[in-house]
């Protein structure tokens, strides 16, 4: 019975006004009964036939307001093809014939159907025009889709439907919501449905106060930014207890969100820190351990990103099944490509310049320009599109914090690269030789280590790691010839701040700078925040010229 009485009341209110509220309460039972009878008598067979022509005329008029109106009416029309029409419109597969005012939809395979009857049709899509949509239509479309998929057998779809009803707060969806609630067994979906219902009821000036206050409580327990948005809207036009309740609920949520914002800052800081770490860690080898001021480091990152692009292009054209896993191919390949380029640069240019930092700086800066222009010539000056694999798209909620999968995996990747590098340096014979060479070149040489070879390999290792960073950065930044430039300064900053020659310093330096930046940004703004951070580093370096973790002992002088 509850299912019927609510829509009857909701419809009656606008006609009778709030003064008749109590009367409506008593009449609701009668109205509900009447509604049932009407539904049984003519609604089902006739409304369908009538609904058809009116709804479809609206969709085929090629005017946004008409399309919007038709979509708003569609869910309640009971039209059998309504879900197909809505899905087709969302997928840009809805066509119309203007003069004949006929509507057609195509299925995924491109087969055409008459939208009024659902019968297959042999009309050609090329002879028709597509129904156009704008944001207003898209909103109505989301609402209609939500209302129509509330009963979908797929729980994920039901939840998404409930979410879109929550957003649209379309009062006509209330009966459908109640019906869905009556059938819903999954607790999590039930919760979203109830919240969607609460959002409608709380904002319904016709509903009685007790119900509205209950609804506000439900919204309060939802406790997120969307709930605040609904509550502030309600508070802005309601009166009396409802207004007070909505205001207090929204301030409670906002106080809670303010606390979460600190957690959010830490998370964003870690995320930024992981990006800095990835960009800087290769430099920690070439600059930190080997002492080469490598201005072309950023271009190694850029080459890694372009390798990712090339791998994806290859997967897209010849092995579409691999596209989703192309990053796993790109990571080792980017390492190899950039390591090879790094070794080449070391052999051809840098090895003649050891111990001459100024010349190295100029030479590597020149190399960076050459690499940029080479990439620009080969791949074009435009940005290249690198798509995100499915496991890196989207986000999940942790408390009131929204965590993107992409950012999360980048943090994991950065940490993994860091420990892999630690392992190489500490536990392999190559790592041992490399450390020996950097600590005392002549001694290492006289022990039979081929220092030339180790230099080349170490430079290759640093470059290769930069290339792997490029794979990760292709997911968050644009793949363009200028990609590397944005990271070179930050990378040097991290290595110098962390302490030259110390990987742990680089880790801690990157994370500290990331978190500090994210706490400064909301207060000072992005521009001033960055300046403040640079000022801080200048002061810090004055106090501790060797960074956070200074190397001690003889290695310093070597």
């Amino acid at each position: 019975m509850t299912f019927i009485s609510r829509p009857a009341r909701a419809r009656a209110i606008p006609l009778t006004g709030p003064a008749a509220k109590s009367l409506i309460e008593t009449l609701s039972f009668a109205a509900a009964a009447l509604f049932l009878v009407m539904l049984a008598l003519f609604a089902a067979p006739q409304a369908r036939a009538q609904g058809d022509s009116s709804v479809i005329v609206g969709l085929s008029s090629d005017k946004f307001p008409d399309t919007e109106r038709a979509l708003n009416e569609l869910p309640a029309s009971g039209l059998a093809t309504a879900p197909d029409i809505v899905e087709a419109l969302a997928a840009n597969r809805l066509y119309f014939n203007g003069p004949a005012r006929k509507l057609y939809f195509a299925d995924e395979a491109g087969k055409m159907f008459d939208a009024a009857t659902g019968e297959p049709s042999d009309v050609m899509a090329s002879a028709l025009k597509k129904v156009r949509i704008n944001n207003a239509v898209r909103r109505s479309l989301d609402a209609a889709r939500g209302a129509l998929t509330l009963m979908s057998p797929d729980p994920a779809k039901r939840k998404a439907a409930a979410d879109s009803v929550f957003k649209s707060r379309d009062a006509t969806a209330l009966p459908l919501l109640d019906a869905a609630l009556a059938k819903e067994t999954l607790a999590s979906t039930r919760k979203v449905l109830e919240e969607a219902r609460a959002a409608i009821v709380a904002g319904d000036s016709g509903a009685n106060e007790v119900q509205r206050l209950e609804a506000i409580d439900i919204l309060k327990s939802r406790g997120d930014q969307d709930a605040v948005s609904v509550l502030t809207t309600i508070a802005s036009w309601s009166e009396g207890r409802v207004k007070a309740a909505a205001e207090s609920a929204s301030s409670v949520i906002q106080a809670k969100l303010a606390l979460w914002r600190n957690v959010q800052n830490v998370w964003y800081g870690l995320s930024l820190g992981s990006v800095l770490l990835l960009a800087a860690i290769g430099l920690a080898i070439t600059f930190g351990v080997m002492g080469i001021i490598n201005m072309a480091h950023g271009e190694m990152v850029m080459l890694g990103a372009y390798t990712t692009f090339a791998v994806q292009e290859w997967a897209r054209t010849s092995h579409p099944g691999l596209l989703n896993y192309s990053l796993f191919i790109a990571i080792p390949l980017a390492f190899l490509v950039t390591a090879a380029v790094g070794i080449l640069i070391e052999r051809v240019v840098i090895r003649f310049l050891y111990g001459r930092p100024l010349e190295t700086l100029l030479a590597t800066f020149g190399i960076s320009l050459i690499l940029q222009q080479a990439v620009r010539t080969i791949f074009g000056a435009n940005n290249r599109e690198v798509s995100a694999p499915s496991f890196m798209a989207g986000s999940f909620d942790f408390g009131s914090l929204q965590i993107g999968y992409g950012r999360m995996w980048i943090i994991v990747f950065a940490i993994a690269v860091f420990f892999a590098l630690q392992f190489v340096l500490r536990a392999t014979s190559f790592g041992l030789r490399m450390r020996a060479v950097t600590q005392n070149r002549r001694m290492a040489s006289s022990m039979g280590i081929d220092t030339n070879r180790i230099d080349a390999l170490a430079f290759g290792l640093g470059s290769g790691i930069a290339g792997m960073a490029g794979v990760a950065l292709s997911q968050i930044d644009n793949v363009s010839p200028n990609l590397g430039q944005s990271y070179i300064i930050d990378s040097f900053m991290v290595v110098v701040f962390g302490g030259v020659g110390n990987l742990w310093g680089t880790l801690l330096g990157a994370l500290t700078l990331g978190v500090a930046n994210k706490f400064l940004e909301p207060i000072a703004g992005a521009v001033l925040g960055k300046i403040l951070l640079l000022v801080f580093i200048i002061l810090f370096i004055q106090k501790r010229p060797r960074g956070l973790f200074a190397l001690k002992g003889r290695a310093v002088e070597a």
């Binding site: 944001n135 800052n265 620009r376 940005n383 930044d477 430039q485 994210k518 992005a526």
Partner: protein
């Protein structure tokens, strides 16, 4: 789209960039029987991404004109130089084009700072520059024709559209920290306030060049947008920083149906590097879209693709501006019967040529042109779908009516006034009332 990011690094790169620059591919008959046309667009460095295309458009237009028999019975000869995204180098190259190559007109520049850098050169040597990019206004030079949009031909109609059609009440003005966004946002802020928007409903945010970590700002926008009023973002974010910005919007689940973003610097070329599916419905305001459906535009796209031998090449607004500018120049030279600068300057005013959106653009006495304003929504295929356009053409307004210092100024280069900043209050040529 004016000055660009990281230009300090670029400046140092100038020398090398210059060394890498092309020699001019003068493909046509040389000698005294040609009219030289300068092309001053960066082919290397940061701005190459946008400017290389414009160089190609100019070469195509010149080639086409030569097929039609040239101009005044002479062939046109393009002179291409590469200022390498380096602002001082722009001035040097401009001087070289005018004094050494003796070009009759130059088509070039993208960023405002490059235009400001060449402006004194063109005025000193009395030559003509066509500038094809939307910009912040507040300038009118005797020697420059501005074929891109002034703020009233882009920013203000976009805000009007959001106010009327999306019922937006709260505004985020987000931009990169330099002259174009700051001036545009100053104009927009004054305009919004004149429309009754309260100061607490306007959030202004600036970010450095090449900003790539947008998590905090997107979270702030989301928070600002949950105050129960419809919110929109007006973005003057420049160039490359847009990609991570849009990616972050997608990741944070900010959809165009919740908080639409209208951008003034994002066109078809910029979208070519992004997966646009999460961006469907976000907006851009321009005077031309590739998707504009008419025969002239289709023919232009076909020609462009044949010229570049790439059937996926996109077209964009500054390209259309060059098409209009070039055709205007050709017409003015024919009208004047000479390429002499002063004669062409006089002949230019009042010249009308077809634009690619189905109308005629006219050169006004203030050296700006009339254009329609189009609002488009991003589609899944990286194109824009026009959802609104001005009913008529809009005249470019060089001195904004919404800024204190400039609202009394007008520009009129017709004789006898011949003044770029005439103050209607004091009745004098020479700028603002102090």
């Amino acid at each position: 789209m004016s000055l660009t990011r990281r230009f300090m690094l670029r400046t140092a790169g100038a020398a090398l960039g210059g060394a890498l620059a092309f020699a001019s591919p003068a493909a046509f008959a040389q000698g005294a029987g040609t009219i030289k046309v300068g092309i001053l667009h960066s082919l290397s460095g940061t701005m190459a991404i946008s400017e290389t295309t414009l160089k190609d458009v100019m070469l195509m237009l010149i080639e086409e004109q030569n097929k039609k028999g040239g101009l005044l019975g002479k062939k046109l000869e393009p002179v291409v130089v590469d200022p390498a995204s380096n602002w001082p180098l722009f001035a040097e190259k401009a001087r070289e084009l005018i004094s050494k190559d003796k070009v009759s007109a130059t088509f070039g520049c993208w960023t405002s700072v490059s235009r400001k850098s060449v402006l004194p050169v063109f005025e000193e040597l009395n030559s003509i520059l066509f500038y094809p990019v939307q910009y912040e206004g507040e300038e009118s030079s005797k020697n420059i024709f501005y074929t891109g949009a002034a703020p009233n031909q882009q920013a203000i109609p976009a805000v009007d559209y959001l106010m009327e059609n999306e019922k937006v009440q709260r505004w985020v003005l987000a931009g990169t920290d330099y002259v174009y966004p700051r001036t545009t946002n100053k104009i927009l802020e004054a305009y919004l306030k004149s429309k009754g928007v309260k100061p607490e409903d306007i959030m202004i945010n600036y970010t450095p060049f090449g900003h790539s970590d947008w998590q905090t700002i997107v979270a702030d926008i989301k928070k600002f947008g949950s105050a129960g009023k419809k919110t929109a973002v007006v973005s003057t974010i420049n160039g490359d920083a847009n990609v991570p910005f849009y990616k972050e919007l997608g990741n944070a689940g900010v959809k165009a149906t919740d908080i639409p973003v209208v951008a003034f610097s994002v066109g078809e070329e910029e979208l070519a590097g992004i997966d646009t599916k999460p961006l469907i419905g976000h907006l851009a305001a321009w005077n031309y879209f590739q998707s504009v459906d008419n025969a002239d535009n289709k023919a232009f796209i076909a020609k462009w693709r044949a010229f570049t031998k790439n059937d996926k090449r996109v077209t964009n607004d500054p390209m259309e501006a060059h098409v209009i500018g070039f055709n205007m120049w050709v017409k003015a030279v024919e009208k004047a019967g000479t390429t002499d600068t002063d004669a062409v300057l006089d002949a230019m005013i009042g010249v009308a040529v077809p634009n690619l959106t189905g109308g005629y653009s006219t050169m006004m006495p203030n050296h700006h042109i009339t254009k329609p304003v189009l609002i488009g929504e991003v589609q899944g295929d990286g194109q824009f779908n026009t959802v609104w356009q001005t009913s008529g053409l809009v005249v470019g307004d060089e001195w904004s009516d919404y800024l204190e210092g400039s609202k009394d100024l007008i520009s009129d280069w017709r004789k006898p006034l011949s003044c770029g900043n005439f103050n209607v209050k004091t009745g004098k040529c020479g700028g603002a009332t102090k």
